[in-house]
Amino acid sequence: MSVQAAPTVDQWNAEAFNSYVKQLGEPEWLVDLRQNAFEAFEEMGWPTRKEEEWMRTDIRGFNLKKFDPPKLDEVVDAASLPSGVLAEGVDIGGQVISLNGRTGRSTVSEELEAKGVIFGDFATVLAEHGDLVKKYLFQGEFDPNFDKFSALHAAFFSGGAFLYVPRNVVVEQPLHVLNLIGDNGVDLAHTLIVLEEGAQATVLTESASLDDDQPGFHCGAIEVVVGDRANLRFVNLQNWGHKVWHFGQQKGSVGRDGNLFWTLGALGSRLSKVNQHVALDGPGAHCEVNGVLFTEGKQHLSYHTQQYHRAPNCTSNFLYKAALQDHSRTVWRGMIKVAPGAQKTDGYQRIDNLLLTEHSRADSIPGLEIEADDVRCTHGATTGRVDEEQIFYAMARGFTRKEAMRMIVIGFFQQVFDRITLESVREALGHAIARRVREYE
């Protein structure tokens, strides 16, 4: 039998694409972008394990034939949708919720609108502020030609959210985006966040399945543009059901003296392959990334990060923690790149892996590409098992084995939790992890 996905699939071929684009009724410039991406998608082969990028991530089990592009005529009943976990108890300034790429809810407070903040589902913002979308869409770090999945996304994307914060505007209330997948659903959401010079905002994004036992396909992208002196706190929680294929391009850029604080939680999906890149484009730019990965069953999460110092005097600090149960796998490839002239760079990246079972496996490959000669770049990776003596110590003081294990796992993640300033995010991640910890002998 063949073990390669077919190069072209009926539901995603040229005829289907043309029909899809026609239904969208978008401006010509965007149709051209989609057309170029579709041609790239058609030309490119599916990734194979012969490529360095994919050598530890086997996607032979993925078959695009099993999924259809989003149905644009599908009406979503907003009242029936869950509201996610990140915004619980949080006074939010706006919310976008989608199901299978179709918007169910899109709100933004009048107070923010009065300040000139633009926030909403992609289609609505495109209709009302087309020129602004055109100025930023695909213009930053996101590259539709990166691989076949990014090209597929750029050609067919639907749903997602757009945020624009004008110069020096401070948005106090967090904005919330929730992407949902239903039975055999497809999510091709594109999230675009733009903060002009001196602006400030907090954005909480998350993804979930309506039913954890149903298959699904996410092929998405996040574009983050942090202007000079702007500050963005960004949270992205991937919480799909365990039969969802997740392919993501998450790209950010930070301008002069800007700050990007990015918290990433990866708990769900059957298989994830994510490229998370941040470019430090202006002198004094700073980026801090906190990553939490928790896996179980036969999950495979592959995260490829890059912190790209293009300007002098920038700092980047990427800290990831992964805990693995059962037969699950994580792959983490981290790269610090320093461009010529990016002197006085301070780049740090680290991943710690905690193996909770004998058959789990974590591959960590930190890397450096330095083309300047006055830099400090630090990277490292650790992998270890739970210390039985710690378990014994806790049990000797009245804890059950499961309680002891949970305490140790939460303690393992504490270093990352301490760096997360949003209480709702800390609690959501903590609860989600604690719920998943099982007892091991």
């Binding site: 039998m1 073990v3 394990r49 050598m55 530890r56 086997d58 032979r60 089990g61 037969h327």
Partner: protein, 104 residues
């Protein structure tokens, strides 16, 4: 434990020979050698290499990436750089068909 699943006709795989099949969302190598059939994960435990694309020599299969070798009967590594066994599964011949039962 799962049930035995028919993966191929015996005539599909010469003796000696091998092929890769997807069984219950898992890719496995089915090997026909010495009149018997064997089944193991299509994964080299050293570096996730595509073991099924490697050369078969007697009862050993060699990973094409770095040359690690495994005993097809036990899954145990017989040559570095692999040090951990790859999972073996049950395989049998019934009539003119090959059946496989996944372990775990």
């Amino acid at each position: 434990m799962s049930e035995f699943v028919r993966v191929a006709a015996l005539s599909e795989i010469p003796d000696p020979g091998k092929n890769v099949y997807e069984v219950d969302d898992r890719f496995v190598i089915v090997i026909h050698a010495g009149g018997q059939v064997y089944c193991l994960d299509d994964v080299c435990t050293h570096d996730d290499g595509p073991l099924g694309e490697g050369d078969l020599e007697g009862y050993e299969i060699e990973c094409p990436r770095h040359g690690a070798k495994f005993d097809i009967r036990t899954g145990k590594p017989t040559l570095m750089p692999a040090t951990q066994p790859t999972q073996v599964h049950e395989a049998k011949i019934e009539g003119d068909s090959i059946f496989v039962r996944l372990v775990d």
